[in-house]
């Protein structure tokens, strides 16, 4: 037997032993767990860095607004103001209960911010609220990720750790987009989610606003012989208003004599779709937790008013950040589609309601 055959035999034995070792022990899983955990730790460090950065920026902004102890003001906000969802086992009145809880929470946040900021412009107060919400979301994501990571390590649950590791790039991308969104809200530039209010703005012209619901305005104008009731949140501060309640009130005021209700909103695009693509269909284009959407649907159903929906597609990151040119081009296409719907489906002399759904930051 020559030297190379000895080597081959040794290698063969080693391969068989390694194979047994890998197949009949838990060591490979432990090794994987160690690898995934190390991968997650690096990303957790980045996540913490992003959270710290968002806090620093929020504190700097609050100091600029004249808040005496901005750190304490922010910390008190971050872990509080949660909402406990209403009981769903008994669905009667669930929407009313949810609406009530959301209003109470909204009022509490506004009171907390107003108390510390004093008499400042509405748009600055609104932007501060959104800024605090963003830092709060970043903190929450960080805490949830850490929770599952520690849980996975505690019980050596390598499946949980592996799942988390695979999700980490997506989670980091989302958190980065939240962090970048702070810039948009600090500067007061329109965000991707503002496509609805921006489309509505195109139809307003010189009409004067009339408050129909909290932070939600109605503009009465005309479009080619049709009476146009435009509803949008009050800008240019960061708010989404209460469009459902506004639609309900306007339709009731008109005694249900409305030819069409058109809602325009941003929609999450699929990976195969392009940003700025515009699509239209039937229904209420609004992504709220429920009460506003159901208010539009119930009002439309009560008076048999057809509901038209126009959406501009974008990713979640694009919806949160300064509107891109592609999205703006989508807005221009959406305006043309709304005009086409009105021309083709609303007769001259009839009334139509146009609702611009979304955050109106940077849009009057």
């Amino acid at each position: 037997m020559d030297g190379s055959s000895d080597w081959a035999s040794t290698l063969l034995v080693l391969l068989i032993l390694t194979s047994l070792f890998l197949n009949f022990t838990d060591i490979p899983q432990k090794m994987q767990l160690w690898r995934w955990a190390s991968f997650i730790r690096k990303r957790l460090y980045q996540l913490s860095e992003i959270e710290n950065e968002s806090r620093r920026r929020a504190i700097a902004y609050l100091s600029k607004l004249g808040v005496s102890n901005p750190r304490e003001f922010m910390e008190n906000f971050l872990d509080n103001f949660f909402v406990i969802e209403p009981v769903s086992k008994e669905p009667t009145d669930i929407i009313r209960r949810l609406k009530h809880l959301l209003r109470v929470r909204n009022a509490a946040v506004k009171a907390y911010v107003s108390e510390r900021l004093g008499n400042i412009e509405l748009w600055k107060r609104n932007n501060t609220e959104v800024l605090l919400e963003i830092v709060s979301v970043i903190r929450l994501i960080n805490k949830i990720v850490r929770h599952y990571f520690q849980l996975g390590l505690k019980y050596s649950n390598w499946v949980l750790v592996m799942q988390l590791a695979l999700e980490m790039p997506q989670i980091l991308r989302l958190v980065r987009s939240y962090n970048d969104a702070i810039d948009a809200f600090l500067k007061g530039t329109p965000v991707g989610d503002g496509v609805g209010p921006l489309v509505a703005r195109h139809f307003i012209g010189n009409a004067k606003p009339e408050e129909v619901a909290e932070e939600t305005d109605l503009y009465i104008t005309e479009f080619e012989g049709r009476k146009l009731y435009v509803i949008k949140a009050r800008g240019p501060g960061a708010t989404v208003g209460w469009p459902g309640e506004a639609v309900e009130k306007v339709v009731e005021r008109l005694g249900g004599k409305v030819a069409r209700i058109i809602t325009v909103d941003a929609a999450l695009r699929l990976e195969s779709e392009e940003t700025g693509e515009v699509a239209y269909g039937v229904g209420a284009a609004i992504g709220d937790p429920g009460p506003e959407k159901i208010a539009i649907e119930r009002t439309a159903t009560k008076y048999s008013i057809p509901l038209e929906a126009v959406v501009v597609k974008m990713s979640d990151a694009e919806a949160l950040n300064t509107m891109t040119k592609k999205i703006y081009e989508g807005v221009q296409r959406a305006v043309e589609i709304v005009k086409k719907i009105i021309r083709e489906k609303v007769r001259e002399g009839e009334s139509v309601i146009l609702v611009g759904i979304g955050n109106t930051v940077g849009i009057l």
Partner: protein, 96 residues
């Protein structure tokens, strides 16, 4: 000395794995992202003049920013958007 085919095979696998590792290391380096520019589009309400300039603090859609140099009608901000402007490419400001 003549090498065993098994040894040769293992060496080949080792070399391929090394090349793959090195390639993946060099190809995953990202190019630095170009920060987008925020632009403000201003237009005359009569529709015969428009201008795109860099965003200034306090700009918002619907804000009146002066009079039209062509007809004297109010000039309004009609859009604020971000765009990646490459060096030597498009100008950040344009008039029409």
């Amino acid at each position: 000395m003549q090498l065993d085919p098994l040894i040769l095979g293992l060496l080949a696998v080792f070399v391929v794995l090394m090349i793959y590792t090195l390639l993946s290391f060099f190809t995953t380096r990202k190019q630095p992202a170009i920060p987008p520019k925020i632009l403000t589009k201003i237009a005359c309400i009569s529709g015969n003049y428009s201008e795109v300039r860099e965003f200034r603090e306090g700009d918002y859609v619907g804000k009146e920013v002066g009079k039209c140099p062509k007809c004297g009608a109010p000039l309004l901000i009609v859009a604020v958007y971000s765009e990646i402007v490459r060096q030597g490419g498009k100008e950040a400001s344009a008039r029409s």
